[in-house]
């Protein structure tokens, strides 16, 4: 494969300016060739630096400071507190740490269930829609609606459906089916976890569906034909060919779904507002509340850094395990 780092020099130099205005800045051709990729990357690099990397550094610095509302105008003046913010965050016997730990467990449970269900539904839908049938195109468009709808519009609609007195859910559960004695609350109390999970799965599964469908297109038809000749039924083909072939796709998909769900802020924020009920107190909302509602940015930053460390650890372990699995599978 040829690369453009060293194009034939004769041709490069022979390229005439073609009567155009000579460019204002004429660097030697060699230098221009070397610097060109960096120039092309420069805007992207600068932006990443300004909006992601520098704030991350600032966030780490902030986590070592006592940054309350008095220091927002001049955060550099906030006093250093060393590891106090971290100690406060992980002191699980005190209220702050206890709440954080609780929120962490809620988030883990929520993420595992949501990712699992999204993956399951998305995969099943993709496998069932692998073959052509009447209405397949229309159904596919319908299935993409949750992905296309803006989060807040979709979640507001769900919050309307979950209203105790005016919502569809209680109308069906209580009025029509008579499953409960009274109208349950969905957006406060323990049920809020179920409500949040439902919305999250509704919104998230189409992404899994899309990616798995893409993965299915890469499985050669001959494999199915060969299996059919050997007498494998439809279900067996799904189990023996489809699912194993999807493994590399699934490894990326599950990781991406995990990170998105774990960090999800929009869904709980629109569903519950600035402070979520205890049963559905996801970590991003929890940190938001610790920072912007009680105005302690230092503690909020320490919690963010801890969250990032946790995600880094999980991702590293996941990548290690899956890549090892892949290697042994290849042998």
């Amino acid at each position: 494969m040829t690369t453009l780092t060293t194009p034939p020099p004769s041709k490069e130099r022979a390229a005439p300016p073609g009567g155009k205005r000579p460019s204002r800045l004429r660097l030697p051709a060699r230098l221009r060739r070397v610097s060109l990729p960096y120039l092309l990357l420069l805007p992207a690099l600068l932006l990443e630096l300004v909006v992601h990397l520098i704030p991350m550094g600032v966030g780490i610095v902030m986590s070592f400071k006592e940054l309350t509302q008095f220091f927002i105008r001049d955060w550099g003046a906030a006093p250093w507190t060393g590891l106090d913010n971290y100690k406060l965050s992980v002191d699980f016997d005190a209220p702050v740490g206890e709440a954080l730990l609780h929120s962490f467990f809620v988030t883990v449970a929520f993420t595992v269930l949501s990712v699992g269900l999204c993956w399951l539904i998305g995969t099943a839908a993709a496998v069932f829609m692998q073959e052509h049938f009447r209405g397949r195109g229309l159904l596919r468009a319908v299935f993409l609606i949750p992905y296309a709808l803006p989060v807040y519009a979709a979640v507001i609609t769900w919050s309307f459906m979950f209203q105790r007195d005016t919502g569809l859910i209680n109308h069906v559960v209580h009025d029509q089916l008579g499953l409960t004695d009274s109208r349950p609350f969905w957006l406060i109390g323990d049920n809020s976890f179920v409500a949040l999970l439902t919305v999250s799965v509704w919104k998230g599964w189409p992404f899994a569906f899309l990616i798995v469908m893409a993965g299915l297109q890469n499985i050669p038809k001959e494999q199915y034909e060969a299996a059919a000749i050997d007498g494998a039924g439809m279900w067996q083909q799904v189990r023996r060919i489809t699912l194993p072939s999807l493994r590399p796709v699934n490894q990326v998909l599950v990781l991406v779904l995990f990170l998105w769900t774990f960090n999800d802020f929009n869904t709980p924020y629109v569903l519950f507002g600035k402070s979520a009920p205890e049963a559905a107190d996801l970590i991003s909302i929890h940190i938001y509340q610790s920072s912007f509602v009680t105005w302690n940015f230092g503690t909020g930053s320490a919690m963010s850094v801890l969250l990032l460390l946790f995600l880094l650890l999980v991702t590293a372990v996941y990548l290690l395990v899956t890549s090892r699995g892949r290697k042994t599978a290849d042998v």
Partner: protein, 279 residues
């Protein structure tokens, strides 16, 4: 290959239930937006007692929805254009050149995907406030600040998708253009970009959807005049009386641009996701 009955029946049942699950909120949104207020203030009814389009006129008066709409359009539009242009340059560099630090760049850009938004929010908030105090450039609360923030959200994913797309454009094409005397930039815009239009459209759709749907930064970094739809829509719901029919009408109205755009361009987006995901 004939599918067995069990497979066909499972498929029928599963897909029907799933379609019902997906469409339920859509039905609620559409039907409730056409109901009179007394219908949405009492117990839910599948069939409205009356039919009215009043909510669609009232939504513009209850909150300044048109202003929010304009803000969202400007912010999402500008973020999309900038992020696509920047991603095209970056992806071209990664796809066509070998250079020092290439791996570091791609890994760094991709790993920003995994960082929790809340991690940037606090520092960015403080940085914008401090930059404003020091230089008088209003980033906090301004559209510019939001555009700057949003365009980096879609950037990593856009670069990743475009690298895949550009890789699939045969190198011989732009090499020929270079040999014919084009500069690298002309080769990019004359040859590579036209050949990768589906990928670029996909990236643009994705960037627009990301910006149009973002809530966290919009809720912290906007003020009265720069509020976007993501925040503004909550205006109907925080009053004592919740005008649910108006909330639903407004939700539908703000969804139409993205859903229409998405359904029109979904072929490209799906193809783009595929190129990125299954390389």
């Amino acid at each position: 290959m004939a599918a067995p009955r069990s497979f066909l029946w499972s498929r029928r049942i599963f897909l029907t239930l799933l379609a019902g699950f997906v469409l339920l909120p859509v039905y609620v949104m559409v039907s409730s937006s056409l109901k009179p207020l007394q219908d949405v203030s009492g117990s839910f009814r599948w069939m409205p007692s009356g039919f009215t389009v009043r909510p669609y006129f009232d939504i513009w008066k209850t909150v300044p929805l048109a202003d929010y709409f304009m803000n969202s359009l400007i912010v999402a539009g500008a973020a999309t254009v900038c992020s696509v242009v920047i991603a095209v340059f970056a992806a071209y560099a990664v796809s066509r050149y070998r250079f020092r630090g290439k791996r570091v760049f791609t890994v760094t850009v991709l790993s920003t995907q995994m960082f929790p938004g809340i991690l940037f929010l606090l520092p960015l908030f403080l940085i914008y406030v401090n930059v404003g105090n020091a230089t008088g450039i209003a980033l906090f609360g301004s559209r510019a600040g939001l555009i700057l923030t949003y365009l980096t959200f879609s950037l990593p994913f856009s670069i990743w998708m475009l690298i895949g797309y550009f890789d699939s454009v045969p190198r011989e094409l732009d090499e020929a253009a270079l040999v014919d005397g084009c500069g690298p930039l002309r080769a990019l815009f004359r040859v590579v970009v036209p050949a990768a239009i589906p990928g670029i459209v996909a990236v643009a759709v994705y960037a627009f959807m990301t910006a149009w749907g973002e809530v966290l930064f919009a809720s912290v970094m906007t003020n009265e005049t720069t509020r976007t739809l993501a925040v503004g829509l909550q205006g109907y719901a925080t009053q004592n009386d919740v005008y649910w029919n108006q909330v639903m009408a407004a939700s539908l109205v703000v969804s139409i641009p993205v859903v229409a755009g998405f359904l029109l361009l979904q072929r490209y987006l799906v193809a783009g996701l595929t190129a990125g995901a299954v390389k």
